[in-house]
Symmetry: C2
Subunit: 208 residues, 2 copies
């Protein structure tokens, strides 16, 4: 049933979940696809289609019950269990991500950093995350139950690092370096592109 759910739909589910968290915190009990559509400037039909992938979540005449839909989205997104994350690259970005407080709120836990520099291996981030030798990735990943790797290395070495991560049996990767990277079909690679957000600001400044 979830086979045909696209990347874009998944991203939208995350955004819906954020909004539902807000609604619940504000004591709102139900929400219509129309309200969701207005919030995200999408059309209501698309939102109903996104949610219908996962069964009949709406209630006729009511829309969606906020608490139920929120719980269901958390299940769908796999957020009802803790996920252990490794960060590859103990540079500025790696350290920033290792100690990023947003992860923990959402059920993600950074359990290890990896680097290849002997000076760094064996030391810890400010938040106390141990830096392992990248050569131990496979062993540590298995021991610590790591299922997601965040790649925070310079573009020049990103593909080599991605290959190492894939060889270690990790199937989900989040990449921060610009440029395209190759992974096998059964591995999921997401890239964070900060320039999309900057472009939105640029648009705001251009029209002002």
């Amino acid at each position: 049933m979830t086979d045909q759910v696209s990347e874009q739909t998944t991203n939208r589910l995350s955004l819906y979940l954020r909004f539902l968290n807000e609604l619940e915190a504000n004591g709102v009990r139900t929400v219509s696809s129309k309200v969701l559509a207005a919030e995200f400037d999408l059309n209501a039909a698309l939102i109903r289609k996104d949610l219908s992938h996962f069964g009949d979540l709406g209630v006729r005449g009511v829309g969606y019950v906020v608490a139920d839909l929120r719980l269901r989205l958390r299940q769908i997104l796999g957020l009802d269990r803790r996920l252990n994350v490794a960060i590859i690259g103990a540079g500025n970005l790696g350290f920033a991500l290792a100690d990023y407080p947003g992860f923990r709120q959402d059920g993600f836990r950074v359990v290890a950093l990896f680097d290849s520099l002997p000076d760094k291996v064996g030391t810890r981030s400010r938040g106390g995350i141990l830096i392992h030798d990248i050569r131990d990735l496979k062993r540590v990943a298995k021991r610590e139950g790591i299922t997601i790797a965040v790649v925070a290395v310079p573009s020049g070495s990103a593909q080599i690092v991605v290959n190492t991560v894939v060889d270690a049996g990790i199937k989900a990767l989040l990449n921060f370096s610009p440029g395209s990277l190759r992974v096998p079909r059964d591995v999921k690679l997401k890239s964070v592109d900060v320039t999309v957000s900057l472009e939105s600001l640029s648009f705001f400044l251009a029209k002002g």
Copy 2:
């Protein structure tokens, strides 16, 4: 004409632009709203609506001419001129962003870092960006023509820093700290939420 263009539409314009860059690099000359719709798992009507905000960009029976639409989107997004960016917070994240190679590709230039720690002020990032005293923000922003500030400080001090940035006359802010922040109506604040990307990976792992 651009008054009614929402945040979500602007984000989509950035994604369309990325895809058009790819198409052009691959020698593709024209693209239909249907192909764009399939790429982004949206419906073609929504894409035509997004683009119709900016005049009649399509050609009947052809769709969009890739080179023309790309150029027009770059103009709409204000990417046809260079934008000077300041980064507030010379910590791990601030340094990582200061030297991030993706910015320059897209017409953004980081011209200054700011911090309040006397030890840091006057030193430089690895890429050579000078760290100024946050108290000099207004003066430096004016001198350097800074129009975008990236806030890379811990959540606890984020609102104070945002207030300082707003007082300095900067109207566009990109925030990396979790939690909500207040800005005046004439100021645009975007927040980067890395957990949205992690949730997409979580979904992939949950259904596998």
